[in-house]
Amino acid sequence: MIQAGDTAFVLASAGLVLLMTPGLALFYAGMVRSKNVLGTIMQSLIMISVISIEWVIIGYSMSFGPDVNGLVGDLSWFALNSVGQAPSANYATTIPQNVFMIYQCMFAIITPALITGAFAERMRFAPFILFSLLWTILVYNPVCHWIWGTGGWLANKGVLDFAGGLVVHLTSGAAALAAVLVLGPRKGFGKQNFMPHNLPMTVLGTGLLWFGWFGFNGGSALAANGIAATAFVSTHLAGMAGMAMWTLVEWLHRKQPTTLGAASGAIAGLATVTPAAGFVSPMSAIVIGLLAGIICYTAVTFKNIVGLDDSLDVVGIHGVGGVVGTICLGIFASRAVNPGGSDGLLAGNTAFLGTQIFGVLVVGVYAFVLSWILLKIIDMVVGLRVSQENEVTGLDLSEHSETAYN
């Protein structure tokens, strides 16, 4: 039975989530050098086209279509066959199925865009498109089905993920780690200064991401109800707590609070609360945000020590955030907050924490291994990196024949 309020809310949320992708483009673009701004923006922006077409042709059916052994949806909804205005029997039963389909499409778009921060400033455009498309088909769609699809095997084991701590943030973070290892560091890494060229652009992107995140997490209730409000509140509180904590830790550790630190902390808090948003109390969300601030800060600092060129910290913020948030859900989840969820450790349920850790291991290993193999194959067949000369010239000119600032 279609509810007008729910339909309007999820449609508006879909719009909010779409806005996160150009927001992410700006967030990333501010952190690269001025010769790579457009190349970096394009890697996020073009996902709107590439993944939307993939999604309506096969992605939605693979993710949410009739289950095959808990592993993947079959292709009976190929090209949106039978996906129309009638509500689905299994998903979001109070809104037209095409609303649910387009809302989920926005998640599929931003997930491969998140990975691009790891290989910023050095990947050719054509193999990037190929990788993102194959990755979405082989990693995103199955993992989405395991956790959110009816009959998905991780969902059947009791793994919970409210809005994408595993499906979005851990898959992209694990893929980012594989990309860092396969592509290697940027030319001059550790010797040259790779300073962000425009941090105000990054802050603008942070604002758009935060705004969009209300649709990402709030909308994941798939109805305009109390759970949506709980998720909305959790999202905001974790974002603010993450920003406060990162800034504070950096101030103590480095003697100066930085703008990039504040922006990074906000994104860390928002990413970390994503799996938990609709399942935890406001005070738990604050604790999750605070943990995100200090743990993601430590992860990013650790990266600098080990010398991996995860250029824009996809692993340290989204990968680690997804892991921490999913485990935190195992600790802080409460049926009193959301009767449709689980009780966590603090409510006396140890088993659920174990289930969540199992989910992290399965998704993390699967996404890492598949991404590594995909990247290796594409590298062997067509080559992933730009030439040394083009890397010095910058992607804007070498891949797109234009420059951002004239």
């Binding site: 300073m195 950096e250 930085t258 600098n304």
Partner: protein, 112 residues
């Protein structure tokens, strides 16, 4: 004729320009440059990565004067640009063979 090139701290530009104006020097060329000498660069921190920025922004002034004015003008610039701290800059004096004013074709002293 001599060319005076002065590398100074950016915030001292107005003082130097005013002092030169008072001396009757009514023209100069300015560039924003970066460089380092004894003054150390500064540190910038981005997500915990520390970058040492060696090249510090400076202003380079170039002006041509008659040989007889050189000592006076150099001292004028020096006094106006002085803070007493490392990084105040340097002044170079170079010989100039010829000056030509594009508009009129005047040369030498008249063209300065």
């Amino acid at each position: 004729m001599k060319k005076i090139e002065a590398i100074i701290k950016p915030f001292k530009l107005d003082d130097v320009k005013e002092a030169l104006n008072d001396k009757g020097i009514k023209g100069m060329t300015l560039s924003e440059v970066k460089g380092y000498g004894r003054q150390k660069g500064h540190k910038e921190i981005y997500r915990g990565a520390e970058y040492i920025v060696d090249f510090i922004p400076k202003i380079k002034l170039e002006l041509i004067v008659e040989a007889s004015q050189v000592d006076e003008v150099v001292e004028c610039i020096r006094q106006a640009a002085l803070t007493g701290k490392i990084g105040d800059g340097k002044i170079f004096v170079l010989p100039v063979e010829e000056v030509v004013r594009v508009r009129t074709g005047e040369t030498g002293k008249e063209a300065i």
